[in-house]
């Protein structure tokens, strides 16, 4: 045991020293273009995971290196520090587009389901339902929501979710106290009696005991379209030799979305992902979580304007002051559609 442990330590030191000092030279030309991908955990990383498992990436001239993150803000930092080329990210992607000049390619999944805020059954907010006619599902009223303490991971889609909810009741962030906590710690704090409302998402959402907690609102009930997006770093996007690899990646994502229409394939992949990450999960329990968040196929992207959600989020960030007006212009300027349109036509020729 001792020798192995020492070997690990030595390896760690040499690896660290190497990364500290030398800049690793790019792989030789004819090898597939390596794309370093950052994805959010669980369901959102499935397409990338599936592509590399099936070997579809090497077949089409690119190689995926996947790292998973718990929050979009972590991915922002990865993009900012040039450790990542492409990422799947939610609302936090707006920051990357305006501050790190990243490029929005397209939205690949409707991930609104599960993005909800829980409230205790016995709390005053839970007693009032249907206060607003056009949003019958929403719980609470301006009086009960005012001065509430809400636990949520700030700077992500959940903040927009909460702000939209407040906006429906004519309130703003200044009327409540927003406490910045990651989803899991938020659950533990809320469950031990802290705060009045706690934002959550799958899989933590299912941990809440239905007898004690109900959904005050979710992205669907608040009417906020929330899609996850594929975003590329500016340097990677502008490098001509990566163009084909990017198109190929988008094509494979569309192909995976198509195969994921078959529920059993989708669920098997999900279970395989959990296995790989050393987490034991009950298949039936998580089935609804996975199926409620469909991936956009070729037909979906041809019929609806998938960029709507990203634009709404960017405008929202501007209104609450997270980004300035000219940042907003910057975001819109960075929304590219050339790659996805090329990918759609390539997909049509090969797979239809």
């Amino acid at each position: 045991m001792k020798k192995k442990a020492a070997a690990v330590l030595m390896a760690a030191i040499t690896a660290a020293a190497a990364s500290l000092g030398t800049v690793t030279a790019l792989a030789a030309e004819e090898e597939p273009v390596t794309i370093r991908v950052a994805t959010l955990a669980q369901q959102l990383s499935l397409p990338m995971y599936y592509i590399s498992e099936q070997g579809w990436d090497v077949e089409n001239g690119f190689k995926l290196e996947i790292t998973t993150f718990s929050q979009g803000t972590g991915i922002n930092e990865a993009l900012g520090s040039g450790l990542v080329d492409v990422c799947t990210i939610g609302a936090a992607g707006v920051n990357s587009c305006c501050i790190y000049d990243a490029v929005y390619l397209f939205s690949h999944e409707d991930s609104a389901a599960g993005q909800q805020v829980m409230v205790r059954n016995d709390s005053p907010i839970a007693q009032e339902k249907g206060y607003l006619e056009d949003y019958p599902e929403l719980l609470g009223s301006p009086e009960t929501i005012k001065d509430a303490t809400i636990l949520l991971p700030m700077g992500t889609g959940s903040q927009i979710n909460v702000d939209t909810y407040l906006d429906r009741f004519g309130l703003t962030e200044d009327d409540v106290t927003l406490v910045n906590m990651d989803t899991a710690p938020a659950y533990q704090a809320f469950v031990s009696g802290e705060g009045d409302m706690a934002h959550t998402c799958y899989p933590t959402a299912d941990e809440y005991d239905p007898e004690q907690y109900t959904v005050a609102f979710s992205m669907n009930t608040v009417g906020l379209p929330y899609y996850d997006n594929i975003i590329a770093s500016r340097s990677f996007f502008e490098d001509e030799k990566n163009h084909d690899a990017l198109v190929a990646l988008c094509v494979q994502l569309l192909r995976t979305a198509e195969t994921f229409k078959d529920d059993t394939v989708l669920m098997d992949t999900m279970m395989a992902w959990y296995e790989l990450n050393g987490q034991t999960v009950d298949r039936d329990k998580i089935e609804h979580q996975v199926l409620e968040r469909p991936f956009f196929t070729y037909e979906d992207l041809s019929s609806i304007d998938a960029t709507a959600s990203f634009k709404i989020m960017a405008e929202f960030y501007a209104t609450i002051g997270n980004i300035t007006e000219e940042d907003l212009e910057h975001v819109f300027a960075n929304m590219d559609d050339t790659i996805i349109s090329e990918a759609l036509s390539v997909y049509a020729e090969t797979y239809l």
Partner: protein, 260 residues
């Protein structure tokens, strides 16, 4: 602070208190009905030994500890070398002091953890930002204590050395540096606990292995037992590091044991 009250009595009392505390914890855990099952000490210790042999994530506790230690070692050694050199030269050469001390005093009061966001911005979220953070956390105590050691050198010893024919640089290397060693060692002790704490913070912010990651992974899946077992590991390793440093000090400073 060590008073020998007879070995057996020491062990008896110490073990006694630990037992009392553990049983209190056991009772509290069993009776508590909080939503999150509060683990009992037995579960925690059991999990700790379980994690010693089987993997959590990609390593056992040994691997995680080694990862954490490897990060501390690199940042710590760098801070030791630079901190001592800067501290001693600042303490002995007035020009160096005039040049570097103001900027050093400007950056010194900033808590190491406050550097995390900037470190991530500068070095990305790989390993480098952890080395930078640990370096900053250890660099300040090393520099401060070396500076204090060099400034507080006994003037008479310097007179004696010059009287015996030592040149200005010989005085620095043969008199100032050795006489600063005791206070450098006390700086090393502070630097070690700083480095250890900051390494943990860096790992809890972003990492895929290490003891800090172990706790955060536990928190991520609401596994309180893993969280507390992780803390147990941190406590043990921290305990060994601190005592290891004291032993090293006692061995190296045999000429000074009447001082401290």
């Amino acid at each position: 602070m060590r008073h020998n009250y007879g070995k057996i009595r020491v062990v008896l009392y110490g073990a006694g208190t630990f037992l009392v505390l553990l049983s209190l914890w056991q009772i509290a855990a069993m009776t508590s009905n909080s939503e999150i099952g509060f683990p009992t000490p037995v579960a925690v210790i059991g999990r700790f030994f379980h994690m010693l042999s089987n993997k959590v994530g990609s390593y056992t506790i040994w691997g995680h500890t080694l990862w954490s230690l490897s990060r501390v070692v690199i940042g710590y050694l760098l801070a030791c070398v630079l901190g001592v050199v800067l501290g001693l030269t600042m303490g002995w050469f007035p020009y160096v002091k005039a040049l570097f001390k103001p900027v050093f005093d400007l950056l010194r009061p900033i808590a190491p953890l406050a550097w995390i966001p900037l470190a991530i911005l500068w070095f990305g979220i790989g390993e480098k930002y952890k080395y930078f953070l640990i370096f900053i956390a250890a660099f300040v105590p090393f520099t401060l204590n070396s500076y204090a050691g060099a400034v507080r050198v006994d003037r008479q010893l310097i007179g004696a050395a010059r009287m015996l024919g030592a040149s200005h640089s010989q005085v620095f290397f043969r008199i100032v540096v050795p006489s600063a060693v005791p206070s450098i060692f006390s700086g090393a002790q502070v630097a070690l606990s700083n480095a250890w704490m900051t390494m943990l913070a860096a790992e809890m912010v972003r990492s895929s292995e290490g003891i800090g990651w172990l706790i955060i992974a536990g928190q991520g899946i609401n596994d309180m037992t893993q969280m507390i077992a992780g803390m147990l590991a941190i406590g043990i390793v921290g305990f060994l590091l601190a005592n290891g440093m004291r032993l090293l000090e006692r061995r190296c400073l045999v000429w000074n044991n009447q001082g401290k």
